[in-house]
């Protein structure tokens, strides 16, 4: 039996239609990425699956209708939003206990989950003072309360720095290995490549394609062409980095935020490795066609 | 959007219902019934005292629907003397001394006696017929009279013992 079934999902806000006749099924253990430009309907789709927005069509989790039996359905879902918002008056420990109770669990269970994401030392710290990465880890811990089979993540790494992002991805990887089903939206191809087995391509509310990361890669980066790797580095390191890459035969130039390197598809990660080894601090990177 | 429209229409129902309610609250058309006195609650429009005892009470209604209430027929007569413009046109009722009934003042029979202690001491009461009035006048040692005669005379003073 499919874990998640979406049939003829249509969502309108007033006169604008955000999702049009969207249907798909997701099996247990799958990891599915939602891909598409901003405004394509990724966030709305996830919210419909959560049942927090009214919509037309049917969404079922393990056969439970999210609109009619939302409470039971949501018990099967852990959710990590794009920008995590906690109650500013609560501490980390209180937040964990509160959401544990909300799921009918022992508050102790909430605090145990904090160990899993290495937040056990911050029980009495107000959630407002957590860093972005810590908040995201807390959100993940809360999403795992009660061991739901399905995790929904809405651009979970968008507010993280590169190192937190890597840690977070590793954590998700482990969850996947442990048998969780993931449905997440992202606009970073490397995350798709890293985590997803399947990609749903959204465009203007339509399901454009139900495909694989490899197919997506071919779409995005045809084999023959060259790509530009945009690297974000601290300003003082940039001239040195340019020199380093040029000595390894890369074509490099500087722009407003950092530098851009012309790379081919099969060696796109080499500049990163080179610079990291040479001790440069890479804040972020993007790959463009 | 549809919600808002729906809300508006329910509001208009509300207003409509309200108007209905209000129209129900309008005073009923003037009837031939005497104005209601809430005994022990309303005050006399002449002497301003509480009207407690039905059997001495009197009321009138002016042609434009204003109501007056009196605790003593003597107060009614004083009032009419001071408001001659209402005296000829108003509908006037007096309460029966012996039964729980109202009479039109012009049709009632009155007894005046020093031994009747009415609320303001004017010693005037009203009855339905001449027979009752006559026997009352005899037992109380008073005189039988009609409303026109009471009105024609100067307003009564409170009774004084001889």
């Amino acid at each position: 039996m499919a874990l998640l079934t979406i049939e003829h999902l249509t969502k309108r806000f007033g006169t604008t239609t955000v999702l049009v006749d969207f249907s798909c099924t997701i099996e247990p253990g799958e990891s599915v990425a939602l891909w598409g430009p901003n405004g394509a309907g990724k966030t709305t789709l996830l919210r419909c699956v959560l049942g927090v927005l009214p919509f037309e069509g049917i969404i079922q989790i393990k056969g439970i209708d999210v609109q009619r039996q939302g409470k039971q359905a949501r018990r099967l879902v852990g959710f990590v939003p794009q920008e995590v918002a906690f109650y500013p008056t609560l501490t980390v420990g209180e937040t964990a206990a509160f959401f544990a109770r909300l799921r009918g669990l022992d508050p102790e269970e909430g605090r145990r989950r904090l160990v899993q994401v290495a937040l056990q030392d911050r029980l009495d710290q107000p959630v407002g003072t957590l860093s972005g990465g810590q908040r995201q880890r807390l959100a993940l811990a809360l999403a795992l309360l009660g061991d739901p089979p399905l995790l929904l993540l809405d651009e979970p790494t968008s507010s993280l720095d590169i190192r937190s992002r890597a840690e977070f991805m590793d954590a998700l990887q482990k969850l996947l290995a442990a048998g969780k089903t993931l449905l997440f939206s992202t606009h970073r191809f490397e995350e798709v490549e890293h985590l997803a087995r399947r990609v749903l391509l959204l465009e203007n509310g339509h399901l454009e394609a139900d495909t694989t990361p490899a197919a997506l890669a071919r779409r995005l980066f045809p084999e023959t062409s060259q790509y530009r790797l945009r690297l974000h580095l601290p300003e003082r390191q940039r001239p040195e980095a340019v020199k380093t890459l040029q000595t390894h035969g890369f074509e490099v130039w500087m722009n407003g935020h950092g530098l851009e390197v012309r790379v081919s598809l099969n060696e796109k990660a080499r500049p990163l490795t080179l610079l990291s080894r040479a001790g440069f601090e890479i804040i972020d990177f993007e790959l463009h066609a | 959007m549809t919600m808002r429209k729906h809300h508006l229409s329910s509001l208009s129902y509300y207003v409509f219902g309200l108007l209905l309610l209000l129209s129900a609250c309008r005073p009923a058309p003037m009837s031939d019934r005497p104005p209601i006195i809430r005994f022990g609650y309303d005050t006399c429009d002449y002497c301003r005292m509480l009207i407690s005892e039905p059997r001495y009470a009197a009321t009138l209604r002016t042609p434009d629907g204003q109501e007056r209430r009196f605790d003593d027929i003597g107060c009614l007569l004083h009032y009419l003397h001071e408001h001659p413009e209402e005296a000829d046109v108003a509908y006037i009722w007096v309460h029966d001394y012996l039964q729980d009934r109202w009479h039109r003042a012009s049709q009632a029979f009155f007894v005046r006696s020093d031994r009747l202690i009415t609320p303001m001491g004017y010693g005037i009461i009203a009855t339905a017929d001449t027979l009752t009035a006559d026997s009352l006048a005899r037992t109380l040692g008073g005189t039988l009279t009609r409303f026109a005669m009471l009105q024609a005379a100067p307003p009564p003073s409170s009774i004084r013992l001889p």
Partner: protein, 280 residues
């Protein structure tokens, strides 16, 4: 799998709401202002009576009713208006709705938590002035005092549910709060002034005036409060006498029901809006 009962969920959400309310600057401010003013008014009101060996229901006692009519709706309306709208804007509403809860539970939890917070705040104001009144010998008895407290709680509840209605119907905090403040103006000032004006212009009868005035829940509260404190409505003139004659002491259960209705209907509307709107 563990299941959570509706009761457990609502009580948890209510406790969280209470926890939040007690840390809300508005709430603390209202509580303090209400307590201080109630105390001050009782003190001033009794000061005269103490000096002359006289006590009664004077202008100053009236100003206690005035204070309640001014502050309590303001408390309820603003707290209610902030309740959902603020969380919606912060993003916490989405997060809470993504948990295994239903909108009705969230709404009920909010209402309950805020109602308890308001009751606690008013208890302190009432308790302090009650002690003062008892100490200095007041004309108000325990029955009337507790009755007035109960009516005030009802008033708080109804303004709270009105505020929650604005909060659920209007997407942004600023508009919800603005509408709530406008509703407060309407209830407290404009409604009465409008009725006064139209009564002057249209020369409506005493009965109609009374009926119309009951459209304003604050007037209903006032009539019931005066009936409680004075045992009659003479002080409200012919309209009061009319009401007293027509209903007598039935006015008390009647006005209580009207106030409850004013609480219930906005809540139902709020629920419908909330379900339709969801987390957005």
């Amino acid at each position: 799998m563990t299941t959570t009962t509706v009761r457990a969920t609502v009580s948890l959400l209510a406790r969280k709401e209470l926890h939040d309310a007690l840390r809300n600057r508005w709430f603390v401010l209202y509580t303090v202002v209400f307590a201080v003013l109630a105390l001050a008014l009782s003190w001033i009101g009794l000061a005269g009576g103490q000096l002359y060996g006289l006590a009664g229901f004077g202008r100053t006692t009236a100003s206690l009713i005035n204070l309640i009519m001014l502050i309590v709706p303001l408390m309820g309306l603003t707290l209610g208006a902030l309740s959902l709208a603020l969380e919606r804007e912060q993003g916490t509403l989405l997060y809470i709705l993504a948990q295994p809860v239903v909108p009705g539970e969230v709404l009920l939890g909010k209402l309950l938590g805020l109602a308890i917070a308001l009751t606690a705040a008013l208890s302190i104001g009432f308790g302090l002035s009650g002690l003062l009144l008892a100490w200095r010998g007041s004309p108000i008895g325990l029955g009337a005092y507790l009755g007035l407290f109960g009516l005030t709680i009802l008033l708080a509840l109804l303004s709270l549910s009105l505020g929650i209605l604005f909060s659920s119907a209007l997407p942004r905090t600023a508009t919800a709060l603005g509408s709530a403040l406008f509703a407060w103006l309407l209830l407290v000032f404009l409604g009465d002034l409008g009725l006064l004006g139209s009564a002057l212009a249209l020369r409506i009868s005493v009965e109609q005036l009374f009926t119309f005035s009951l459209l304003n829940p604050l007037q209903v509260f006032k009539v019931a409060a005066i009936l409680l404190l004075r045992s009659d409505l003479q002080v409200l003139g012919p309209a009061g006498q009319y009401a007293m004659h027509l209903y007598g002491w039935r006015l008390l259960p009647l006005s209580t029901s009207v106030l409850l209705l004013w609480t219930l209907i906005p809540l139902i509307l709020a629920y419908l809006f909330f379900r339709r709107r969801g987390a957005l």
